[in-house]
Symmetry: C2
Subunit: 311 residues, 2 copies
Amino acid sequence: MASESKKVAVIGTGVIGNGWITRFLANGFDVVAFDPAEGAAERTRDTVERAWESVKALGLKEGASKDRLTFVSTLEEAVQDADLIQENVPERVELKQSVLRDIDISSKSDAVIGSSTSGIKPTVLQETLENPEKIVVAHPFNPVYILPLVEIVGGESTSQETVEKAYKIYESAQMKPMIIDKEIEGFIADRLMEALWREALHLVNDGIATTEEVDKAITYGAGLRWAQMGPFMTFHLAGGDQGMRHMLEQFGPALKLPWTKLEAPELTDELKERVINGCESFADDRSVAELECKRNEFLVKLIDLVEDYWP
Amino acid sequence: MASESKKVAVIGTGVIGNGWITRFLANGFDVVAFDPAEGAAERTRDTVERAWESVKALGLKEGASKDRLTFVSTLEEAVQDADLIQENVPERVELKQSVLRDIDISSKSDAVIGSSTSGIKPTVLQETLENPEKIVVAHPFNPVYILPLVEIVGGESTSQETVEKAYKIYESAQMKPMIIDKEIEGFIADRLMEALWREALHLVNDGIATTEEVDKAITYGAGLRWAQMGPFMTFHLAGGDQGMRHMLEQFGPALKLPWTKLEAPELTDELKERVINGCESFADDRSVAELECKRNEFLVKLIDLVEDYWP
């Protein structure tokens, strides 16, 4: 897909909206922005300016230019020619529904509407639309112009075509889109993050740790691993030669212990097999030792890098 | 503290025990190891051999040598001259208590005993010891020879002197020791990790995501940030110029939503202030914009690094 032929509209220019604008500009898109707040255009230009060094360092696409941003004074004008409209208004259902209705009515029939909502289900967002098939949730991560993950979630009325078009556009903006088939509040990444966040709040609330200690407990330990490996592969490697199978035998019983305030699911044989097979199939024919080797190589370089940036 | 004058004993040589051995050798300690399992000595030497490239790349201390490892055939012999004894036997209370009793009786009166337990409270571990003041929990993270975090937790009978000595020894092994004053099961880091882990198991159990999708949701998003910043500072930066204060106003209400299976604590004014003050005091007089700048610089370099290592 030639990204230079694509036109993107960004509605709502807070931290996330401006992050999208920067990412799309850096990837050679024309961007039209709208936000009714006083001084919004200026703030956006300042933010893009500040972030430009980062996206330049990541690598600009051909034709990428800060000058390809236009700020307009009505939503209708912003969305009328757009192939993708990214919605980033505050996280209130009625407000989002109303803005999405306006976007739907004023945009092309083959446009894709992506909502940046971090938790509202797409089926709820599309309830009141005339063309509900046009909308997906496309949930990014801050800073949007650097982090590659975007969760794409269709609602009951979203067309398969919309999901596929969305995937292609975000991929052409150098992202790692992940399509989520089952709708749940918070999708996947935020459910995981929120679990950590809620437990962190409990620790601070109970006077066990300060915010600083919680942060250090992450950055000097598990956080380093998570830049390269999620929780499943991390534990696969902690299990020695037998990987996840051994890990679940050894630490499975700890799920019954009062670690964290979160109730664990019952570790049934079915769940065990699903987890073990998941890890083994991801590992493919790479042994734990091989994976360890690669992890170590990465971690050594990461520690070298992160030393200047630690708290 | 001249680490070359320190002698360390490592009891139990699984993944964690061997990790400790490698770290101590790389930092110029003499290490004596004991594990009753058949072939343990050979497995340890193989593991140290494989890991040596990583610790070399991180930087060996003067005098560091793989040859300063001795494997002995009794626990008593291993611990008798040691300044620090690191215990890494399986995670069963009675077993740990019994091994720790043997370690206590056979070791010097001024030795420090560090237990690698990932969840048992030190007060429980020291219950049956003759000299309970000698023991702390010293909980590391895999791979121990690379990740710098070690949680130091004293029990009710642990002396302040032991905690201080432990801190110095682990620090001299290039670690980032964190002293935890209040004992809880799982301490701090594992409570956080476990919350994420349990939520991940729920997602897989409920058929929402595969293990691979969970892992990708971490590595392409939040995991990149966590290598440098914990959850509190991450959200401080997501709040725009006003940092955590704005963040809690905007996303505090989401704590009531059914994101994650974990119940959130009530976001009282007191908790709010504790969180906001924690972030502001950590940020010192650095504005969110300054912190953002540093974060971006780091993330751009990290993405450059991690591209070869992503799933």
